[in-house]
Every structure is written in C-alpha cells, then in structure tokens.
Subunit: 143 residues, 2 copies
C-alpha cells in the first residue's frame, strides 16, 4: 500500500483524484499507476483499470490469476467489474467509499449472482493516510 | 444497431465474443468497435469500453455528455460503470444478459444510490439478431 500511496500522491500533483494502485504477482510489483482520467481524456483511466491493463501486458494474458491488487480507495463499479474480469485473487483497499464504492457499498458487486469471479477482499488498509490524501485534495479544490 | 451488429460479427471472426458497440453524437457515429479482450490481452477490452475511450479521444474530453451508446448485449458491471463515468445520455442495448448483465439484472447499477449518472436505457433493440450471434458463437466453441 506504501507504493500505491506514492502513486496517489503523484496523481494529485498531476491534478487528478489522488488514487493509486499496484498489482503484485509472486511478491513482486508488476504494475503501478495513479488516476489519469483527465490526462488521457479516458473515463476508464482510474488507477485500478490502468494497472490491470499494464499487468496484463506484462504477463501477456487477459487474466491475472494469482495476482493481488492494492488500491488506496474502495473500487467503483467499473473498477470492481474490471477486477472480476481480470480474475484478481486478492483485493486490498485503503479508504472505504460509501458514496461511490461498489465492493462493500452500493451494488456490493462481488456478492451478486451475476459476478463470475470473487476476489478475497481486505478493506481499511492504511485507511487514515489514504482517506487524508483524498480529503486534502478535495478541500483544496473547493478553496 | 446495424453498425454495432457488423462490429460484433467482425469480433467473432477474430475469435472474440461477438459483441459490438458504437457511440453516436449529434446523429453521427464517432466510434465503433467490437470486443478485443484476447487480441489486446486487456480485461477491459469490451466493446463498450473501447468505443467510450475512442469517442473521448475524438471529442478530447473524459465525458461524452449528450452522446448515445448502442451495444449488442446488456453491459456488464465494468461497462455499466464506464458508461456512468462517461456520462452517456442514452444506452440502447440488444440482447438482455441475465447471467452477466448489470443494467437490468444483478446489481442493476443505474438504480443504485452510489451511481452518480443514470443514462436513459432502452433494451431489446434488434434482440433476436444480437442474441443469435452470441448463441452461434458459443455453440461453435462447444463443438
């Protein structure tokens, strides 16, 4: 999560929502990035989707069986769906997101009968630091 | 939907699930594609995400306000989430997907309080032809 937090900080410096993610396979980080929605004009440019795509390029497969995803915020529906599509084994997230999260809030995607792959989920990892980054960023936007 | 069906047929010829999509803005198709999950080793390579990304490149924005998405199959959670992120105005889909759909089945994403943009949704457009393409493709896979 330390590395994901650094990516979130870098995203904030680019003017993006400060969310970062890494994919770990066999104890090694194979992809790391932060949000790039505005930079790339890409509504799918959330940190999670970017690292899933990069990790898939690295392993030359459209699935990441056995891999873990660490992300600083509870994933939204798009990212939760992408995590299921990629068949990620374990999801570790930082701050819960009651307003937009889709893992433990709203649709609770992985509990749906239409979800064909359910990762193990561990929320609240480094929650305070992950949430503080977001809070500071949006407070500055409102200034 | 005619153009989306042609993209679905082209996807089948590439060995991908036969699903096609187009984005229409001001009465003009600005992006059209079919699934490329395997070709690109990309779990987010569903037709919907590909055309949303391409359309955003065309309009140089991360949102597609006022645009319509036509797709041959009811979108999954990832694609439904991407449609909300892109703020698509109207979604037209072909075949319903009770097993993996996330619009009118499973999480019914756009009805969730955590969904921040709800397109108008019209399902069952050219349903028979859209469903037949999928049925034929998966029947051949099982042969």
């Amino acid at each position: 999560m330390e590395h994901a937090l650094a990516e979130a900080e870098a995203a904030a410096e680019r003017g993006e929502a400060p969310i970062g993610a890494v994919v770990v396979l066999d104890g090694r980080i194979i992809a790391a990035d932060g949000n790039r929605v505005r930079e790339h004009n890409d509504p799918s440019g959330h940190a999670e989707v970017l690292v899933l795509r990069e990790a898939c390029r690295v392993v030359e497969n459209h699935r990441l069986n056995g891999a873990d995803l660490h992300v600083t915020l509870e994933p939204c529906a798009m990212c939760g769906g992408a995590i299921a599509e990629a068949q990620i084994a374990r999801l570790y997230y930082g701050a819960p997101d009651p307003k937009g999260g889709a893992v433990d809030h709203g649709p609770c995607l992985f509990n749906q009968p239409t979800c064909h792959h359910r990762p193990e989920v561990y929320g609240g990892i480094d929650e305070q630091r992950c949430a503080a980054l977001l809070k500071d960023f949006f407070a500055k936007l409102r200034d």
